[in-house]
Symmetry: C2
């Protein structure tokens, strides 16, 4: 009765979210998306994290036959060494990405009888994506109450965002406490052998480890 | 500036919705889903309708690696000769289907600069699926305003449901007026050579044609 669906991207935040859900006693099923993203490294990492955690997982393949994001289109350059406190939505934004991922999670959760979806969204040390913010999550949860069979029966599926208001340093500290296997995670927007160190995602991660006083064992 | 994304299933309702959007002056792009549904006949029909209409289209392939619906799992029998006014949600319900389809439509619309999504949902002569009702559509539209880049910039993408409060007979009459190519559409839940005539979808369609006094030229 305590099943949960966890969205797993292979990055530090979603891995920490998975271990957090496990620590709270949920039997977790991980959803990993192969959406023809810029590189496959993060899918490999997500599978490795799921296996390490001992949880079941599905890899969901989807195609988005439109472009318009640096994470879908290799002709768009991933910004380097951007100011992390810069306003606006960067070119790495993928239209409706979390909306799509949460829709599949809702379908999966309802099909397997889970009442919770965990997502590692963060609205503090983040790139400004609108579908990472609490206002969106609350609104999407309300839509699920009206659109799902379980929702109209009053057994709504809730969206759990344990990291949404934490700083990256707080996330690193939580990850240490939960024994998240850092070395298996991959945050970099590029898919090289080593993280590039200059994309937003690498820099938020480095900032978090530095501020938490923890050594990142990935590299 | 008057682009629209239209969800096209191959059935009568979505075809009528497409022709309605065209008649209102929208330049339409059709989204057709290959979700490993029970049969491929409806995909063929959707492509034929899109081509006939002269609109562009994409076929989006997705896999739902969970079951729990007669439309995903051939081991579950499609109900025959059910009372059409029966309460409850039948086994042909696919968890979160319209939620998933609308999420992709939102991604596509934002990527191509469309401000409207058309969906042929109907909440009068329908099978009771919760994600076909106005309350869900309004709620999902609100989530899009908060989760999309265009939404937070105050240029929200709206969901247009021209058929949602029409009876099937009214839809048939509208389809006649708009010169929808009936013979290309496919409503049956089964994928035989001819519609089965006994599933909910066939029976709602037959009821609509009968009440409208129009001959269905599909068979």
């Amino acid at each position: 009765m305590n099943k949960a669906v966890v969205l797993l991207s292979g990055g530090l935040d979603s891995a920490t979210t998975l271990y957090d859900a496990k620590a709270r006693g949920f039997r977790c099923h991980c959803l990993i998306f192969d959406y023809h993203q810029r590189h496959r490294r993060e899918i490999t990492s997500a599978v490795a994290v799921a296996k390490k955690s001992g949880c079941s997982y599905s890899v969901v393949k989807i195609n988005l036959p439109w472009k318009g994001s640096a994470l879908l289109d290799k002709n768009i350059t991933v910004p380097q060494n951007r100011r992390l406190d810069r306003k606006g939505i960067p070119v790495t934004y993928v239209p409706a990405r979390n909306i799509i991922f949460l829709s599949f999670a809702a379908s999966c959760a309802e099909a397997m009888g889970a009442r919770k979806i965990f997502i590692g969204a963060n609205a503090i040390d983040y790139s400004g994506y609108p579908d990472c913010r609490p206002a969106f999550m609350n609104s999407f949860e309300a839509a699920l109450r009206r659109g799902l069979k379980t929702g109209v029966r009053g057994q709504g599926i809730s969206i759990e965002t344990p990291l949404i208001r934490k700083t990256k340093a707080q996330i690193v500290k939580l990850a240490v406490k939960l024994k998240v296997p850092f070395q298996l995670t991959w945050s970099c927007y590029q898919g090289g052998r080593k993280p590039c160190g200059v994309c937003d995602s690498c820099r938020f991660r480095a900032k978090g480890f530095e501020e938490a006083g923890v050594k990142d064992t990935t590299i």
